[in-house]
């Protein structure tokens, strides 16, 4: 086929406005995120002391860390969805730094004898199963939207999708979870979100080649 003919075909396929990748990703996240919110509303409930908890630094820092993860990962995601080498991927270190600060403060204000019980908490098993469950829909929808992207590194793009979804799932789960210690968050939330990101990176590496 002559290149001229191919060009004519491509032009014929360009008669509608094209949706920018950022908008596709945002729409996909909104859709998947809504499914998770619905799942949360239908099957879970916020912890009984949620109003009081909003005034405690541990609960607030827990939500802030998860929110900042979702936000930083969203920026990473939009960069990773493009074919250009992306700079400043280190933005993803921000939530990690917040977590480390919270852990250091916790260790300095709490006696050593309480560290282990606080780390183990009461709900590790819930945390490990419900965060992935609440992340599932947004991770899947964002991964599907990413197939319209052109990621330079498909695994990285997949991981970013998993971190956005995992961070969001963790915010939802955080509303019902009674364990607020940064020691607990740093262990179990990190494990759960890490598992989501790893699975998503694995899928991305296969699904997102172009």
């Amino acid at each position: 086929m002559k290149t001229e003919t191919l060009i004519r075909l491509l032009a014929a396929d360009n008669t509608q406005p094209v949706t920018p990748i950022g908008r596709s990703l945002a729409a996909a996240f909104t859709m998947g995120g809504s499914v998770s919110v619905l799942l949360f509303v239908l099957t879970m409930h916020p912890r009984a002391d949620i109003t009081a908890a909003l005034y405690t630094p541990r609960f607030v820092s827990k939500l802030l860390i998860c929110l900042s993860l979702a936000g930083a990962a969203a920026i990473l995601l939009i960069r990773a969805a493009r074919p250009l080498p992306s700079r400043r991927l280190s933005i993803i270190a921000i939530p990690l730094l917040l977590l480390i600060v919270a852990i250091v403060i916790e260790l300095s204000v709490m006696p050593a004898s309480t560290w282990l019980p606080r780390l183990i908490g009461r709900n590790a098993r819930h945390c490990l199963s419900l965060i992935p469950l609440l992340s599932l829909a947004p991770a899947a929808s964002v991964l599907i939207a990413l197939t319209r992207g052109a990621p330079l590194r498909p695994a990285l793009a997949g991981a970013a999708a998993g971190l956005v979804a995992g961070g969001f799932g963790a915010v939802l789960y955080g509303l019902t979870c009674p364990d607020d210690s940064p020691l607990f968050v740093g262990t179990w939330y990190t494990l759960a979100i890490g598992a989501v990101a790893t699975a998503s990176a694995w899928v991305g590496n296969r699904l997102l080649r172009w």
């Binding site: 290149t3 004519r8 032009a11 360009n14 074919p83 172009w210």
Partner: protein, 202 residues
């Protein structure tokens, strides 16, 4: 309906264009913005200009690997098309084109068992070369077309004759305009997937 620009006229514009990089970048950006609004005529002009530049990018690198340059040019064009939503308005077009071209060239060479590093800067430089290479022989696309379904092949063939007026193609194929558009788009996606999966044959 946008007025059709004949291919030969556009090709001539591509040939005589010898503006410097910044002038060219401005022109590409303007055409790209119009294209993403769904302007098929602007898009066709842009692709013709990009093809001239892409031949300079691909030629030396493909020839060194024993590949037919025009096949790689066509694969890059297809990728640029399917991924045009990843260009962000207000950012320069050339680095984006170079990034996609580089990815596809590396891919094409890898399928030939060659792993090479191509710095993106060198690709951008080649985009600005001012010579106009002739169209080379292309083989892959013709062969891959044979693997589309009957219906897809029919749509592709008809549209390639009629140009971007899907109306006429639809009338001739007795399909709805929407069905023609969808089939064409799927065919292009399938062709791109074929390109990825099949090693180049000699």
């Amino acid at each position: 309906m946008v007025a059709a620009v004949t291919n030969s006229a556009v090709l001539t514009m591509g040939r005589v264009e010898s503006a410097g990089p910044s002038e060219r970048e401005r022109r590409w950006t303007a055409l790209m913005e119009e294209s993403l609004q769904g302007d098929a005529s602007a898009y066709q002009q842009l692709l013709v200009l990009l093809t001239v530049a892409l031949r300079n990018v691909v030629r030396s690198r493909a020839r060194a690997a024993g590949l037919d340059a025009e096949d790689v040019v066509q694969e890059v064009l297809l990728a640029l098309h399917l991924k045009r939503g990843t260009w962000i308005e207000g950012t320069p077009v050339a680095p984006w084109v170079a990034a996609i071209a580089r990815n596809k060239i590396v891919d094409a060479l890898r399928r030939r068992g060659q792993r090479i590093e191509i710095p993106i800067e060198s690709v951008i430089e080649s985009l600005w070369i001012d010579t106009t290479a002739d169209e080379g022989q292309a083989h892959d696309l013709e062969r891959l077309l044979g693997r589309l379904s009957e219906r897809q092949r029919e749509v592709v063939r008809t549209v390639s004759l009629e140009g971007y007026s899907a109306q006429e193609a639809a009338a001739r194929l007795r399909m709805s305009e929407g069905a023609v558009r969808v089939t064409l788009h799927r065919s292009l996606k399938t062709l791109a997937a074929f390109f990825r999966a099949v090693p180049h044959e000699d």
